[in-house]
């Protein structure tokens, strides 16, 4: 038996034994496991599953073992993912630490910082949030004004962040701050980590058009941050910020293509069109809607194939190139279109707000449709992504 086959056999056996049955069912959104200091586990299996996977480093399978990862090769990770899919295992841990901060720390942090922060992320002990946007710095992110002054043994942080995803629920923040107000705007920024429980930090949840509060505004009033919590070089935080944004954009761009509302899912636009607007001989009755859905699904598939092509090219040594801006732009526009199609397919059934006149799925579609509008804004607007492509790929003049 080859090593990979052996790995597969062992993995399969381990999952059979360790993945709780309640973690092998489709996950309702309110059972997503975010870990952290103050977790809420509606389903007790959630914590068991996170702890078991975390202990093996399989919440972050390809991170090095010394940082709490699984130390798996690409091939092994592929097998692990296949085996997880085979038992329909839920994602053990949702985390901005895993998706965004971790990759940036692996690239830019000191050895000591990596050994300290990464294992906590892997085990889901600390829930992180991102302090990027400010009321006056949205698309123009580098125009941020939150300042950190050098006070000898610490930095003193003052200012405010906005659109901090789950800022009111997070334990720690990775935060862009201005450390040199005299330098040009990209040059005077630094990357700080600090505890949200530090005196002077306060948050206020923001209610979105969907009715949910997934973002907060965050205020810093004379917050003392110990100097060892600076990542990378002082005043060179923009380099880290940009790298991290690429991870964020990949994450957001990938959201729409999978799951139960994706093509082939049980609540896909095609399935909903049949159920809510009629079916004739196994086909969506309305030909105009049918063609719109087909166009959308073909684009989704083309988008998926493109992701695969880019991955294959990178495996063969090609630089990452324009991928993240294209993925962010196209993926989020697709996700928005998906929800528009769901609304079109479901008619007034997807326009309910609350109450017993609608079922849970119907109400969910209304809310998710509204939430999806933010996809092409957060992490850099679609317009910003197009600017980046025009500048960095097509080399069009300023």
């Amino acid at each position: 038996m080859s090593d990979l086959e052996k790995f597969r056999t062992e993995t399969r056996a381990w999952l059979e034994e360790n993945c709780p049955p309640s973690m092998r069912t489709p996950m309702p959104e309110d059972e997503t496991c975010w870990g952290g200091r103050n977790p809420v586990y509606k389903n007790p299996g959630t914590k068991v599953w996170m702890d078991r996977m975390g202990a093996r480093g399989w919440t972050v399978p390809t991170w090095p073992r010394e940082y709490g990862g699984g130390g798996l090769s690409k091939e092994e990770n592929q097998i692990l993912q296949q085996e997880l899919w085979r038992v329909r295992a839920r994602m053990p841990l949702a985390s901005f630490g895993i998706w965004m901060l971790g990759p940036a720390l692996l690239e830019f942090a000191s050895e000591e910082q990596k050994r300290h922060y990464l294992p906590q992320i892997a085990r889901g002990e600390i829930r992180w949030c991102q302090g990027y946007s400010e009321p006056g710095a949205g698309s123009d992110l580098a125009g941020l004004q939150t300042k950190a002054e050098d006070m000898g043994d610490h930095y003193l942080v003052n200012g405010s962040k906005i659109w901090t995803s789950y800022g009111h629920l997070a334990d720690w923040i990775f935060c862009l701050v201005r450390t040199d107000p005299k330098a040009s705007k990209h040059r005077g920024i630094s990357f700080l980590l600090f505890d949200m429980a530090t005196p002077g930090v306060s948050t206020k949840p923001i209610t979105l058009i969907s009715g949910a509060s997934v973002f907060a505004q965050t205020f810093f009033d004379n917050v003392k941050v110990p100097k060892p919590q600076l990542v990378g070089t002082l005043n060179d935080g923009w380099t880290i910020a940009k790298a991290l944004l690429q991870h964020e954009r990949n994450m957001i761009g990938n959201m729409g293509n999978t799951g139960i509302t994706g093509p082939g899912g049980s609540r896909s636009p095609a399935a909903m069109a049949k159920r809510y607007s009629g079916e004739i001989k196994g086909r969506i009755a309305d030909p105009a809607l049918r063609l719109e859905i087909a166009r959308h699904n073909m684009n989704s598939r083309a988008f998926g194939v493109t992701g695969q092509r880019m991955a294959d090219e990178m495996k063969a040594g090609a630089p990452p190139g324009p991928a993240s801006s294209m993925f962010k732009y196209y993926g989020t526009e697709q996700n928005k279109r998906k929800f528009e199609l769901l609304l079109q397919a479901m008619g007034t059934s997807a326009l309910g707000w609350e109450g017993k006149a609608f079922d849970e799925n119907e109400l969910g579609v209304t809310r998710e449709w509204l939430r999806s509008k933010g996809n092409s804004i957060e992490g850099g607007t679609s317009e910003v992504q197009l600017n980046i492509i025009a500048k960095n790929v097509l080399r069009l003049p300023d």
């Binding site: 969506i284 063609l291 859905i293 699904n297 194939v305 092509r309 495996k315 197009l386 492509i389 080399r395």
Partner: protein, 381 residues
């Protein structure tokens, strides 16, 4: 393990060689000359011989029949380069469609006779399937009536690509059932010189070759059948899917050429004292095209690989690829013309040539509405 979505070393080499050859021997000016001289053949026979000597006529044909066995990825690579210069040649009608039909449906005797003749550039082939102005594979009224040992073929075909120069026509005829029935079709190999075959050239806007072909009581023998009697639908569908993906590869070449020229123009043309490429209205449109093109590159390659790997999703991917390249060529040819402004409207400039080619290619083997509906049907909705 599935094949990675990349060209391998041999294929990259082929692409480079194809580009060098085509750019040198048949730039857009060569196509212009064919058009302006009203060449009766509509393509350059001498050049086709040279292409055959390079192995391109038999590029998908296995070595046992004299071909080079480079597969559809190989052919796609050449077609893409041909699309860049609007090279008019029998690559689609013969190297792609003719060879595919014989490979998939031919008896061993037919393969031995026809495939080597295609490979040397000796025989030209044409698929005669359409009967109306819209692609509709089963809307076949042309009849082959069994009589004695053979058949009597009667009917009319239109938009037969390379029909007026083809030596052999592959004719889709009805041997049973009514027009629009999916079953009851049979493919016939018909020599163009057979009495009762009448070919009229169609002068299309893209200056490529197409023809109306009529069959008036054409006598055929059993040996003219390609595949089985009443068994033509499966072969036809498979041939059309390969034609769609191959043509899409050619379209991709046109798309990339036009896009590159347009981006270049945005960097050189000045108005209001600045380069027009600095205008955000144009930047965003260019960036959007870039995304659509990247997706198109992926699906064309995936489609070609799907054929070579004999994957069972070839029908879906063929419809996806054709619809996507229809839409992308449409977008890029229109945007290219608009962004070039007045000069784009002149015959002297090439943008119009690409737009005309785009429109004819879009109508060949199914427009986007056809393929969206087919994709939906194949996916169960």
């Amino acid at each position: 393990m599935p094949m990675p979505l990349m060209l391998n070393e041999d294929q990259v080499q082929l692409k480079d060689a194809a580009r060098a050859f085509i750019q040198a021997k048949s730039p857009v000016t060569a196509f212009r000359k064919l058009r302006d001289n009203r060449e009766p053949d509509g393509f350059d026979r001498k050049l086709w011989k040279e292409m055959a000597e390079l192995g391109w006529a038999g590029i998908i044909i296995p070595e046992e029949f004299g071909g080079v066995g480079f597969g559809y990825v190989g052919l796609g690579v050449v077609l893409e380069e041909a699309g860049r210069t609007l090279l008019a040649s029998p690559l689609i009608s013969t190297a792609l469609i003719g060879a595919t039909a014989v490979l998939l449906g031919g008896s061993s005797a037919q393969k031995k006779e026809i495939l080597p003749a295609i490979t040397t550039g000796g025989w030209l082939m044409a698929l005669a399937h359409e009967e109306g102005p819209h692609h509709s594979p089963y809307a076949v009224s042309t009849k082959a009536k069994a009589e004695g040992d053979g058949f009597i073929l009667s009917g009319k075909k239109t938009f037969v690509l390379d029909g007026h120069v083809a030596d052999q026509l592959i004719v889709v005829a009805r041997t049973s059932g009514k027009r629009d029935a999916k079953q009851g079709l049979t493919l016939f190999l018909v020599d163009r010189a057979t009495p009762g075959v009448k070919v009229t050239r169609m002068h299309m806007t893209d200056s490529r070759n197409a023809a109306n072909v009529s069959f008036s009581k054409v006598k055929l023998g059993r040996h003219h059948v390609l595949g089985g009697i009443d068994q033509g639908t499966d072969i036809l569908d498979a041939v059309l899917d390969r034609a769609r993906i191959g043509l899409a590869a050619e379209m991709l070449g046109g798309v990339r050429e036009e896009f590159e020229r347009t981006v270049e123009y945005l960097k050189t043309r000045q108005q209001f004292g600045v380069l027009i490429g600095s205008f955000q209205a144009l930047k965003h449109r260019a960036a959007e095209m870039f995304c659509e093109i990247e997706l198109s590159v992926s699906v064309v390659l995936d489609g070609l690989i799907a054929i070579d790997e004999n994957r069972n999703d070839v029908p879906q991917i063929a419809s996806l690829v054709k619809a996507r390249l229809n839409d992308t060529y449409f977008l890029v040819s229109n945007e290219a013309l608009q962004m070039h402004g007045g000069i784009g409207m002149t015959d002297e400039f090439d943008m119009g040539l690409f737009m005309k080619r785009a429109r004819v290619a879009m109508a060949s083997f199914g427009d986007s509405l056809f393929h969206r509906d087919r994709y939906a049907a194949l996916e169960g909705y």
